[in-house]
């Protein structure tokens, strides 16, 4: 037990460290690549600014004489640059420092076309591209662009350094925590191990087990001893029951019938449906150690790697500042070379002022000779500038006749640098959180299956046999003492089945009936003992978690990915087009949901989970290979079918394995696991897209789904779900729409549920990515902000149900508060879209959504019980769910169209108004009644 616990703990920590290492390296590479691109962007931008006066006049870029000399200035500043190109709007290279290709590669041009800002970038296996587009006026057509090609080498070197540091650190941390885990586990499991060993030894040696099961000891040493004593009693009773069964069958075989007796007295105490608590008690000792070591090792690795990342990116930040200084110096030098004196220069303040607008981290640029001659921007308050920042640094001499006549002063805004580092740590925190969530799921699975699985089976089988039930056996493949006893007990069961069958065969007719009765009493049948199924929710939760994560990986970039694909329906508005993958996905869920239950009953949870995962896997590969928006719509709809079937199958699994008393709690955990997967997918999708490219993320999704499908195949018992009752499958389809005749339910669906669903589908899943992308956020930043929504939902959802009791408020008021929360939280982002207002909107809509979601079902059920005559709760819930899904599809397409016509902020404002107006209408329709319990209890 101790060795297994140690192996499992080490394995879980190892998995966590491996995942964390990969993600942190990916994050570092994404960051380093972004910084590299930003540095090169200085060259692209300043070169583009040189072309701007010509393009601003409406002349084509090709009309400028000596454009080749202008692009060559970039290489003179940074010799590592491979090439600088100036291109016209169609991508034809007008001037270049390299051999002139006719056109840049299509993927670079696509990156330029898709960019919402002037500065943009692209990366291939060999090259990093940084571009700067020139528009005559904001939002106007493209006049031209400058593209700088940079080798991949520096990024690879930096990446190799981080990989080295991460790998060494991870191995050291793993060894350290593993040693610690061994010591701690040895200590906490020492006594249980000895007690169990003594018990098993005594059992094997046929000693009196009663001694080990003395009630005094069990009371003295708490729950674990009590459970061990219980196990000892069960084993003892099982022995007795076995002897009794043998005697009963033997007596008949020898013609000395014995009267049937009742089953053993312990049968109530340890019924087969009630697994013992031994597993839980041992886990309670091991899990805290695993969790503490897991979190500690992840934090340690995160800290070490983040320090390495900081060391890696600091020179790159300094290099950008240095480059800006060089460019400023070159510009002034060029002016002086035209024959004018430094104090004759005019318009430089404006020129550098324009430059500052595009270089947010630079606060101030000046040319000084001892006194300031030219300046732009505002000097940094010395109190704000920590010493390590490059404040007031004298750099880059300006020469005339080889004598320094001036120098450049650049102030870097420390707030922006600090923000950059803060972002890095936030990203790392997200990665840490996701890794711990994943490790947690893996840990529950591994501990449940390998660590305590045998013990739980022993406890259960012995309890059954003690209760004279020999109907089950276990498949034996281990060699430890627990497995040896399990095998022994299984063999006994098989022997009893066999001897009973033989006795029945050979017995005369009058005795046969009595023998059959004995067989029934001891759970014996001619087919032999059946395999003992020990299913629990932990068997499916990792598969569910991975499936949900895979499904949501593309959320942060799907609208942008669709926008970049070819459109074979040119007549369709682009905004509507890019909403269709989501709409198709939702429609598939609406269409598939009613059939999920029937399919579970027919194929079982395992069959359906696996069968639904296969087309979903194919769909993700299809999404990876898709080149048109229409293919994306099709494949995303297929993933909707898969998601509906898998989540509903998993829900049925929970209902099948949970006891009635535990059902609500298990369903709550089911939701948490599902949201945990969604949250992890959203958060990771952005990071992966930034580094691997959006299309490759679909391959990651496909891999996760494949793992999920295999886990479901291995871990879910085949029969689960098949025996589910046939209830509710033949619900009258029209009845759920008849319930809309009730004004309050109508108000609940149309004023609360549908706007709430529209907030999720049209805002969270659609507008957030597009709005943030338009503001220049990367996929990782979008993912991080989106994640706030799901984390808020996860935090608030468990509270929503309790608030009603705690605050003594009717559910209707909480629904109203949720709608108000969500609507109001959208207003700041509708007025001034930024990452901050978007974060506020995510938290607000997440909290509002959780409140609405947490209370609307119970409110609808209350209405079905009290107000709605006829159809009952199934129809009411059906109307609510179908209504909100269909409403969200219509709302999504409408708002997508609106965003295309009037912009993202107008669409966001429309959702805010819709939500608030819906809430107001709901309040009016409910009138004063909803302030009291009367609203639902009339």
């Amino acid at each position: 037990m101790r060795f297994r616990s140690w192996i499992v703990t080490t394995l879980v920590i190892g998995i966590a460290l491996a995942v964390l290492s990969v993600l942190l390296v990916l994050q570092h590479n994404a960051l380093y690549s972004a910084l590299l691109r930003q540095r090169i962007a200085v060259i692209a931008q300043t070169t583009a600014e040189t072309f701007r006066p010509v393009l601003d006049l409406g002349l084509p870029i090709t009309m400028l004489r000596d454009g080749d000399k202008i692009v060559a200035r970039g290489i003179a500043i940074d010799p590592e640059i491979v090439a600088v190109h100036a291109i016209n709007p169609t991508g034809i290279v007008a001037y270049t420092t390299g051999t002139k290709p006719l056109q840049l590669s299509q993927e670079v041009l696509t990156a330029m076309r898709l960019a919402d800002r002037d500065a943009w970038g692209h990366e291939t296996a060999d090259m990093i591209y940084s571009g700067f587009s020139i528009h005559r006026e904001t939002g106007g057509p493209l006049s031209g662009a400058v593209v700088v090609e940079y080798p991949h080498g520096p990024l690879e070197t930096a990446s190799q350094n981080i990989v080295r540091v991460t790998l060494h650190s991870a191995i050291l941390i793993l060894i350290g925590t593993s040693v610690l885990a061994y010591i701690l586990i040895y200590l906490v499991l020492d006594r249980p191990q000895r007690r169990l060993a003594a018990l098993l030894r005594a059992y094997r040696q046929g000693q009196a087990l009663e001694a080990t099961a003395s009630p005094d000891r069990s009371q003295k040493h708490g729950g674990l001893d009590a459970e061990l004593s219980q196990l000892a009693r069960s084993l003892h009773d099982a022995d007795e029951a076995y002897g009794k069964a043998q005697r009963a069958i033997g007596a008949f075989a020898e013609g000395q019938p014995v009267s049937p007796t009742h089953r053993h007295g312990h049968s109530e105490e340890a019924a087969p449906g009630q697994p013992g608590r031994l597993k839980a008690l041992i886990l309670a000792r091991v899990l805290p150690i695993t969790i503490v070591l897991l979190v500690a090792s992840a934090l340690m690795l995160g800290t070490v790697v983040m320090r390495a990342v900081t060391r890696s990116i600091e020179p790159e930040l300094a290099a950008r500042t240095d480059l800006i200084g060089t460019v400023v110096s070159e510009n002034v030098q060029r002016a002086l070379e035209s024959g004018i004196a430094l104090d004759e220069i005019v318009g430089a303040d404006r020129y550098f002022g324009d430059m500052l607008e595009r270089l947010p981290e630079v606060a101030y640029i000046a040319i000084a000779t001892g006194r300031i001659v030219i300046e732009a921007g505002e000097r940094i308050d010395p109190y704000l500038a920590p010493p390590r920042e490059r404040r007031g640094v004298r750099s880059h001499p300006i020469l005339r006749d080889e004598e320094e006549v001036a120098y450049v002063v650049i102030d870097i805004d420390p707030r922006l640098i600090a923000q950059r580092f803060r972002d890095v740590f936030l990203d790392a925190a997200v990665i840490l959180l996701v890794t711990i969530l994943l490790a947690w799921e893996a840990m529950l699975l591994l501990t449940g299956r390998t660590l305590t699985g045998g013990l739980a089976r022993l406890q259960r089988l012995s309890a059954m046999q003690a209760a004279c039930d020999f109907s089950k056996r276990v498949a034996g493949n281990g060699k430890d003492s627990i497995q040896a006893i399990l095998s022994n007990m299984s063999e006994r069961a098989e022997a009893l089945h066999e001897s009973c069958a033989r006795a029945i065969e050979t017995a005369a007719a009058p005795s046969r009936h009595a023998l059959e009765q004995i067989g029934t009493r001891f759970g014996l049948s001619p087919g032999g003992p059946k395999l003992l199924e020990t299913s629990s929710f932990s068997d499916i939760r990792l598969a569910l978690f991975l499936f949900a994560a895979a499904d949501e990986l593309p959320l942060a970039f799907l609208p942008i990915y669709t926008r970049s694909a070819d459109n074979i329906w040119p007549w369709l508005d682009q905004s509507v087009l890019i909403s269709l993958p989501l709409a198709g996905y939702l429609l598939a869920i609406v269409l598939m949901s009613p059939y999920a239950r029937v399919l579970v009953e027919r194929f079982g949870v395992r069959g359906l989970f696996f069968a639904a995962a296969l087309p979903t896997l194919a769909a993700h590969i299809g999404l990876f290979a898709a080149s048109t928006a229409q293919e994306i719509i099709l494949w995303r709809a297929v993933t909707g079918f898969g998601y509906a079937l898998v989540t509903l199958a998993a829900q049925d699994y929970v209902l099948s394995v949970a006891t009635r008393a535990d059902r609500d709690r298990m369903l709550g955990i089911f939701s948490l696991v599902l949201f945990g997967g969604v949250f992890s997918g959203v958060a990771l999708g952005g990071v992966l897209a930034d580094r691997l490219g959006p299309s490759n993320v679909f391959l990651v999704s496909a891999t996760l789904i494949a793992v999920s499908a295999l886990l479901s195949r291995w871990l879910i018992a085949p029969g689960i779900g098949k025996t589910h009752s046939q209830q509710e499958t033949a619900t009258d389809r029209t009845s759920k729409w008849r319930v809309l005749a009730d004004a309050r339910l109508f108000a609940l669906i149309f004023c609360i549920a549908i706007p709430g669903a529209v907030v999720l589908q049209a805002f969270v899943s659609y507008l957030v990515a597009l709005t943030l992308n338009a503001n220049g956020a990367s996929a990782a930043e979008i993912g991080r902000i989106l994640m706030l929504y799901f984390i808020t939902v996860m935090a608030i959802s468990p509270l929503a149900g309790r608030l009603e009791e705690l605050l003594r408020l009717p559910g209707a008021v909480l629904c109203l508060a949720g709608a108000a929360f969500a609507g109001l939280a959208l207003l700041p982002v509708a007025m001034a879209p930024s990452q901050l207002t978007m974060a506020v909107a995510m938290i607000g809509t997440g909290a509002g959504g959780a409140l609405v979601r947490g209370t609307q079902v119970s409110l609808a059920l209350s209405l079905s019980e009290s107000n709605v005559a006829g159809p009952g709760p199934t129809a009411v819930l059906g109307a609510l769910r179908t209504g909100e899904r269909l409403g969200s599809i219509v709302g999504l397409v409408f708002l997508a169209w609106l965003s295309g016509v009037s912009g993202y902020t107008a669409a966001t404002l429309a959702i805010a108004v819709w939500t608030l107006a819906g809430g107001a209408l709901f309040a009016i329709m409910g009138g004063k009644e909803f302030l009291t319990k009367r609203w639902t209890s009339q």
């Binding site: 006066p53 006049l57 002349l59 400028l64 004489r65 060029r334 004018i340 318009g347 020129y351």
Partner: protein
């Protein structure tokens, strides 16, 4: 001895004469240039020589006198030259006329003609559009930026600019057309055009002595920037025109880069004249060597435009170019 040497020399000459292969297939271009073999003419010659094609150009100097043109056209016809290159609006109009003159026997319609250095071939009716000339035997080049660009360039140099001066002479059609174009364009760009004819009522070339007086009038009207427009007369008298302007405190914007480099114009945004000549040569080669029909060739636009600023003039006028301008402009003297 002398006789022997003379005889040998004569024999050598005869041998050389007969040994030289006859060049009956050498294509002949008649180049009609307004100012003789200036930069555009040299551009044509260089491009032809570099092409390696068997072609020669016989240059004819109009000496800015259009009356010499009929004789040159007669020469072209009688020698059956393969192509004619014309330089400037007047020479071109005299050679091919306008679109509606296609059947007029005074103009060449049987010999391919390539025009160059025409300020506005479309406004003058020489060509139909950039896509085609509109006549089977005519091809050409275009080398000017739109006038709106010139006005915007001045504005980017001097944000206070709101009044543009123009001197023109009515004996040159291109000069009048440019005046009309600017008169229509300037108000739409928020600029007041103050245009003065150098010597009104004179049908021939104006008196050059009128230029200083007219310039003084412009200065008096508050003009800070004068545009040279399109005038061979003013170009010919570029030194006088630009120096007078500088003395009056007026900056000259010229469509001719040479006036910035060699005279006292402050600023030009123009293509190199040699490059324009090379473009004309490329059109000629497309016709003669590649067998293209002139009328099917697009009018070739010059590229490689540059801002050129005369820093001496800038300093004299106290108008140092703005910093952004210096990042892209060529300055003279180097």
């Amino acid at each position: 001895m002398k006789a022997v040497v003379s005889g040998l020399a004569a024999a050598f000459c005869l041998l050389a004469f007969f040994a030289t292969p006859t060049r009956a297939d050498t294509k002949v271009i008649l180049g009609i240039f307004y100012y003789g073999c200036d930069e555009p003419c040299q551009g044509v010659q260089s491009e032809l020589a570099e092409s390696g094609y068997d072609v020669k150009m016989d240059v004819r100097n109009l000496h800015q006198d259009i009356s010499r043109l009929p004789a040159l056209l007669e020469e072209a016809r009688s020698r059956k030259v393969d192509l004619v290159i014309t330089h400037g609006t007047s020479a071109t109009l005299g050679t091919v006329g306008r679109l509606e003159d296609a059947d007029d026997p005074r103009f060449l319609s049987e010999i391919p003609v390539v025009f160059t250095q025409v300020a506005d071939p479309f406004g003058t009716g020489i060509a139909e559009s950039f896509e085609r000339s509109g006549r089977e035997n005519v091809a050409g080049t275009f080398n000017r930026v739109p006038e709106a660009v010139n006005i915007e360039v001045i504005r980017s140099y001097d944000p206070d600019f709101d009044r543009l001066g123009l001197l023109y002479n009515s004996n040159e059609e291109n000069s009048v057309i440019k005046h009309d174009e600017l008169a229509a364009l300037a108000p739409t760009l928020g600029v007041e055009l103050i245009a003065l004819e150098i010597e009104p009522g004179v049908s021939g070339p104006p008196d050059i002595d009128r230029i200083p007086a007219r310039m003084a009038e412009l200065a008096e009207a508050g003009v800070k920037w004068v545009y040279l427009g399109s005038s061979s007369f003013l170009r010919q008298n570029g030194d006088l025109f630009t120096e007078t302007a500088v003395k009056a405190g007026i900056a000259v914007v010229s469509p001719y880069e040479s006036l910035v480099r060699s005279s006292s114009a402050l600023l030009s945004i123009a293509a190199r004249e040699e490059d324009v000549g090379r473009l004309a040569a490329r059109q000629a080669l497309a016709i003669l060597r590649d067998g293209k029909t002139p009328g099917e060739l697009p009018i070739l636009s010059a590229t490689d435009f540059a801002y050129v600023v005369n820093m001496d003039v800038a300093r004299e006028l106290g108008r140092i170019p703005p910093f952004a301008f210096l990042q892209v402009a060529e300055t003279v003297p180097d």
